[in-house]
């Protein structure tokens, strides 16, 4: 397994929507490297024929009756929003300016 470069860390930060500063990028590049090298040992035992386990509960497709119930109180929910307009969440611009 390979080591992780500063550019890669910057790319990861972008994917994760973290506006990391230059100092943070250096810091995390070295720390992630150390952690990844420590955890990479698992490949010593993971043969191809071992099934992957995503979850401890062997259940699939848990259904319930489709019953109409009250939704959350709108005033309660909107009172916690950073910005509200006309009973809706107000968000920053989502399109680039032409």
């Amino acid at each position: 397994m390979t080591s992780i470069s500063r550019d890669e860390v910057a790319h990861l930060a972008h994917l994760a929507r973290l506006d990391l500063g230059a100092e943070e990028l250096d810091h995390y590049a070295s720390q992630l490297d150390v952690i990844l090298q420590a955890v990479a040992r698992i490949s010593e035992v993971t043969a191809d024929d071992i099934p992957a386990m995503s979850h401890p509960v062997p259940m699939t497709n848990v259904f319930r009756e489709d019953v109409v119930t009250a939704s959350l109180n709108r005033a309660d929910v909107l009172s916690m929003a950073p910005a509200v307009e006309d009973d809706r969440f107000k968000v920053p611009r989502i399109l680039d300016e032409e």
Partner: protein, 498 residues
């Protein structure tokens, strides 16, 4: 009752309240006064819910006065980990990104606590989003261990454990993703149980790693822990991973506390090197007590446990990076940089940069890496295979023994600041607790004495198969009773006064 109400067990308080020897409001007041007196130095709480606590206590007193039937813990105060949503009360998960957020709904755990007539005193401190083993990753400052205020109370649920050890509450709720109930219990001389995965609903628990997270009960004795376990466990249609089966009778098991003929396995890989001398000493003493009580002790091998830490620190960050994507500053919580010029994407990045602390960012980055195209199979995929191997190790062991035991943590409480700058050293605290979460089985930590070299509590971990949670209480109850016989009291009685 003339004695100090804050020194009583939950079982004793509940009986006294039901018998009208003391009111729920007097009990709540005594605990709120205790919090006011000592939480300045302990910092177990992030938020005290005095008004709602007193209102709930009043309702309980009215019910009892009217002769209405109440739950077995009616009127008993509880400290709630700040990762569980409580309608109208601040819920931050120890993060700045949720500062000031008041959930518009109750988590199932909170709904059940209310239905059980339990009095919630407030929200307890924790490592941010439950990432840590010391509470030092809380955005609101660390919690101090009541045994020694210069030391960590464990984590992530250090606030809940410290509240118990400081006699601020007789009951607490924690959540355990890799040891966050058990390791704090171990280092504070208290009891904590991580129930079987799916036994207690995760609905309304702010998710860290959804396939590992599990809420559970914390208290100062095995019986109190069992009473709380029974109050919160059981099927919930709001959690699709909730197990639809009868809850084992943990209270009866705690009361019976008989382990004659029980087969106990010592996990070889969790009993060797790497433990503090006093931890090993108290652990081995506890094993011989268990043997004296009529259990048979054999050594079992779980050869893949040495890979558990590596698998965990790939699976957890992967799931966490996905779960924490919801904190984007759009519908609730912090929003930063919304100046009219920045795009939504820039606002999200600025918000998350400001709102998350260093450990959260570290794990989000790690998870984003492990899940990214080209690395997914090499990291996340391989870690899932290790999970299968560890589960097979447990299954093989439980074919021959009823429960497994190990020390809960490698050391007693370490000093605040000691491991803060070394993420790997911090992660190693969880080496004995993590396999349980990977397999989804249940485990308890209970105190077995003070390490001679530092006079700090040592915890023993008992592990049982999925949906056999009652075995934890049988074994834990028996061991606790034998230790109380020996000491004349619970270990927690030896905590220095604050």
């Amino acid at each position: 009752m003339t004695e100090d109400l804050t020194r009583q067990s939950a079982a004793v308080l509940a009986a006294a309240i039901a018998a009208k020897e003391v009111s729920a409001q007097e009990v709540a007041t005594a605990h709120l006064e205790r919090i006011a007196a000592v939480d300045g130095v302990v910092h177990a709480f992030l938020h005290i819910s005095s008004d709602s606590a007193m209102a709930q206590a009043k309702r309980v007193d009215e019910k009892i006065a009217a002769g209405t039937e109440v739950g077995p813990l009616a009127g008993v105060p509880l400290a709630l980990k700040d990762v569980l949503a409580m309608h109208g009360e601040p819920t931050t998960a120890g993060s700045r990104i949720l500062q000031g957020w008041k959930p518009p709904y109750d988590s199932t755990v909170v709904a059940r606590l209310r239905a059980a007539d339990i009095v919630i005193l407030g929200k307890t401190n924790m490592d941010e989003f439950a990432m840590g083993s010391s509470t030092e990753h809380s955005a609101y400052g660390p919690t101090h261990n009541p045994w020694d205020l210069t030391r960590i109370p464990g984590g992530s649920g250090g606030g809940s454990a410290a509240a118990l050890a400081a006699f601020e509450a007789p009951l607490a709720i924690g959540t355990d993703t890799g040891g966050s109930i058990r390791q704090p219990a171990s280092v504070t001389g208290t009891v904590g149980v991580k129930p079987t995965y799916g036994a207690v609903s995760r609905y309304g628990q702010i998710a860290l790693a959804s396939s590992l997270d599990q809420p559970g009960p914390c208290a100062r004795s095995v019986l109190d822990t069992a009473l709380l376990h029974a109050a919160i466990a059981g099927h919930d249609p709001m959690d699709s991973t909730s197990i639809n089966a009868a809850v084992p009778d943990v209270v009866a098991a705690a009361r019976r506390a008989d382990i004659r003929g029980m087969r106990i396995g010592v996990v070889k890989e969790l009993s060797g090197d790497g433990y503090q001398a006093g931890v090993s000493q108290r652990y081995h003493e506890a094993l011989s007590i268990l043997e004296d009580l009529g259990a048979t002790i054999t050594e079992v091998s779980c050869p893949h446990f040495e890979y558990a830490l590596g698998a965990y620190y790939l699976i957890l960050p992967s799931e966490a990076s996905s779960n924490l994507a919801r904190f984007d500053g759009m519908r609730y919580g912090l929003r930063t940089g919304d100046d009219g010029a920045n795009s939504v994407e820039q606002v999200m990045s600025l918000t998350r940069e400001q709102g998350f602390g260093p450990e959260v960012k570290r794990r989000i980055m790690l998870g984003t890496y492990a899940l990214s195209s080209g690395y997914y199979e090499a990291y996340y995929g391989q870690a899932q295979k290790v999970r299968t191997l560890i589960t097979s190790d447990f299954n093989a062991a439980f074919a021959n023994v009823d429960v497994l035991v190990s020390p809960t943590a490698p050391t007693t409480a370490f000093k605040l600041g000691e491991k803060l700058d070394d993420p790997l050293a911090m992660y190693l605290n969880d080496v004995a607790t993590i396999p349980v979460n990977l397999a989804g089985i249940c485990a308890m930590s209970l105190p077995v004495g003070l390490a001679p070299e530092d006079q700090l509590p040592v915890g023993l971990q008992i592990m049982a198969p999925a949906m056999a949670d009652e075995r934890l209480y049988l074994a834990g109850g028996a061991l606790e009773a034998a230790l109380v016989d020996r000491w004349g009291h619970l270990l927690i009685e030896e905590v220095p006064s604050l």
